[in-house]
Assembly symmetry: C2
Amino acid sequence: MSELTLQAKELDAADALAPVRSRFLLDDVVYLDGNSLGALPAHVPDRIADVVRREWGELRIRSWEESGWWTAPERIGDRIAPLVGAAPGQVVVGDSTSVNVFKAVVAAARMAGEERTEILVDATTFPTDGYIAESAARLTGRTLRAVTPAEVPHALGPRTAAVLLNHVDYRTGRLHDLPSLTAAIHAAGALAVWDLCHSAGALPVGLDAHGVDLAVGCTYKYLNGGPGSPAFLYVRRELQPRFDSPLPGWNSHAEPFGMQPSYDPAPGAVRGRVGTPDILSMLSLEAALEVWEGVGIDAVRAKSLALTDFFLSCVAHYAGDRVESVTPTAHGERGSQVSLRCENAGDVMKRLIEAGVVGDFRPPDVLRFGFTPLYTSFAEAERAARVLGAVLG
Amino acid sequence: MSELTLQAKELDAADALAPVRSRFLLDDVVYLDGNSLGALPAHVPDRIADVVRREWGELRIRSWEESGWWTAPERIGDRIAPLVGAAPGQVVVGDSTSVNVFKAVVAAARMAGEERTEILVDATTFPTDGYIAESAARLTGRTLRAVTPAEVPHALGPRTAAVLLNHVDYRTGRLHDLPSLTAAIHAAGALAVWDLCHSAGALPVGLDAHGVDLAVGCTYKYLNGGPGSPAFLYVRRELQPRFDSPLPGWNSHAEPFGMQPSYDPAPGAVRGRVGTPDILSMLSLEAALEVWEGVGIDAVRAKSLALTDFFLSCVAHYAGDRVESVTPTAHGERGSQVSLRCENAGDVMKRLIEAGVVGDFRPPDVLRFGFTPLYTSFAEAERAARVLGAVLG
């Protein structure tokens, strides 16, 4: 047994989260792509079968009330809230991340007022945020400017309406400084909109504590909600009365079954709803969130950093200088993934997958390995690095 | 056996669609709410179990390609297309109806040009269409005017950008004249956007034949996709190159995995996509569409009219003048539901449901009974009317 194998064994033995792995259905593949699609929680199949056969098949229309379908978006939002540091009543689930980015950026621009004519967006963002922010700017008569997160403090000014930033960079895994960037944005009188796709469920976010204005996040990555499970929208409580949605669907009406011709928005997080929620995807997410029972986000963060530290050590040992990490080594700047740059990265990832190590490839040259502390072991981190070394030859 | 019971028996015996009922999981409840939530097709539970356990649980991220998840929105769109009279490549599935109304109305206004400053909306519409159209008008600098479908021809003019109409009125069940209204809208140089929520899967629509510009529709009513299954968007082929989406998410990019910072829209129906599709709800819909194997929409329409004719006769017999039908008697003006007005309608519906006849109540005084020819029998129509008569006392 090599020294690293032994070390992995010891780390796993000391890992308080190790038993949580049994809450998932896994096999002997090393699955390091939970930052793209989380693994299947073990109890979800039975829950979904019940939703389909009994709630839909037997109760049918009655389930909107009797099975709690109608209130699922805000109920599940409240289940996610503590994982992102939000008190109840501020998070609602529904629609895709892109649609929620649209709601958030348009609403933020409107709250900022007409005289603030510019929206800033993270130039290194996952593309959809940039495309949607451009549309939001166009429709609200603002201009959009792309700047790197580091440039944000200098780009802010009296014309800035809102800033859309990613908490963790999807490509490099860099964690941005949410507290200080939010403070800088507020100092300029603008609104901070955070995209938490790569941080929700992976590390503490502290939305309330840091006074974030609006946030959106993905639920099928570190929250394991299933393929395309609906995203979430956070609107800080004090801003909710001024949240003026560009998608004022009937689900956000104060009296949705009153069938009123005029729109009267509901109070609270419900105002972020739009149309009929996709119940199967939504209740899969709700069931998936049960794996968090008794698990604190701080413990998850501690294990995440230990896992990525250990993986980086193993990579240094097995792959040496044939790869270059683009993920920051400083803990305060690292999300829950490690991104490695290498030659022929697309081909390398194919061979890794064939060898039972699943990460993903992001053009032009990045291998991404996501670490989900709920189910990833140190032994897997070591094995992944070892296989990578072998694949690189 | 009463005369009506006997007649129902004969009608059922002669019904070529009667065997299709066995493709659904039903019980002895008379379910006349398929216009709100379609019943569960019998093979859907096994299909969803496979999607969850194998496609998500075992293949995980690989399923986006290997299980055809990525292309599901346009593949399922093409499966719906023939049911609404559309050639392939013009329908895409995803997001809620409300979100698709937003895409369609904004895109229509943009195609109409800046000099056309007014959007017309059906004043009798299901409320969400009006709320969303108001938002679309506000964001594109247009004014919104609510007119009844009958008033549309006179309200049209050189300033009209687009008209959003319902094919079937959700409350009364009235079928509007899509061909002639579309022709009138086109004669005024405006674009016709049709909401097919209460017609798709219930009657022939003829989108291509009548030159409809854009359309949206619901899949959890007569298409039985399951609670909150994603809606569909139709963009006529000739208009697709000019379809300028207000929700240009990464799924609508020409090269979605190129991760380009600039937006370059995909050609075709895919341009109507936004974010990651909700796979569980979407594949439930895909499976549900298999019940249409060998079933033509014309046969469905013929049975629908026979069912509602027969139900109206039975209601006249059992309930007499204690109810008043607000659904047109002329076939050309009737959708696939019967709406009856009566005193204390909310209470009457509660008692009907207790007695095993499920319809729904729409304020202030309407009982709705939806007829889904794929699984509703004439015997059920007779029984529903008989129970209604008894409940009314």
